[in-house]
């Protein structure tokens, strides 16, 4: 059975920057079936009060994965990808992030705990996303579970 060392709590992942591009945001909107032109048409986005195409509410999760450092850290913790599931996800929003922004992403392991006599090992990653002006734009909480049985 995999048991994750609690000493990883507080571990900081390497910070990085993500440039939000219109094409990427349009591809994301298409992939989730979004049809509201606010997410694909710059004119509609501006008419709605945005500087440019806004990133949809859950977009930043994937942008945070891009650096690959979370997967690397999980590997170092001894968690195989095949046993990993996403258990919960949370976002707190402070400011819109839009195409043209370069956002700074800082993540750390904020908690590790287990359930069911250790059969389920949980890892919580917290993330802060700051916009080009350095203001906090969003906070993310990703709870991942390493399961010792396949899910139903």
């Amino acid at each position: 059975m995999i048991v994750i060392d609690r000493r990883w709590i507080g571990h900081e992942l390497p910070p990085y920057e993500v440039a939000l591009e219109r094409g990427r945001l349009r591809a994301f909107a298409a992939a989730i079936g979004e049809t509201d032109p606010v997410y694909t048409d710059v004119g509609a986005a501006r008419a709605a009060g945005f500087r440019d195409l806004p990133a949809p509410p859950t977009f930043l999760f994937g942008a945070g994965l891009e650096a690959g450092s979370l997967m690397q850290v999980l590997g170092e913790m001894g968690v195989p990808l095949s046993k990993l599931l996403h258990a919960a996800q949370g976002f707190t929003y402070h400011r819109a992030v839009c195409a043209g922004d370069v956002v700074a992403v800082r993540s750390w392991i904020s908690d590790i705990y287990d359930r069911k006599a250790g059969a389920l090992q949980f890892v919580v990653e917290s993330t802060e996303v700051r916009d080009s002006s350095g203001q906090l734009a969003a906070e993310l909480r990703a709870t991942l579970v390493c399961r010792n049985q396949p899910p139903a």
């Binding site: 298409a30 992939a31 009060g49 945005f50 949809p56 999760f61 990808l81 919960a88 976002f91």
Partner: protein
Amino acid sequence: MNNSAEGLKPGDELPPLAILPVDRMMLARFGCASGDFNPIHLDLDFARRAGMPDVFAHGMLGMAWLGRMLTAWIPQGRLRRFDVRFQGVTHLGNAITCRGRIVDVPIVEGERCARIEVSNTNQFGQIKILGEALVSLDGGCPA
């Protein structure tokens, strides 16, 4: 609902959002567009080695559909918090319906808000995601 926040009350429901059945193409597109390349959603061989019968949907695809339901109802700038728990695997062929129901209209940090219980359910009534969104009824955040 942009101008009709006044009459909102617990029990009110958001217009539901029905999603087409999950297929492999949807997962491939979402994996590439979102940046989530976990092979368990894309690679049948990997999924089987992990003990799954087949690939299955990214949890974040289901959450993104809930996000669509929310932003179809209120401008995105009014979204303050959005939290979900993934309850079960969304399999190929699952046709998800996103639902939202107002459970409370609290004042949070001086703002009138609505707390909305959100869920994804498949065509067999199985719950795949449960969660909660907090939206401002007063206005948006800085764009």
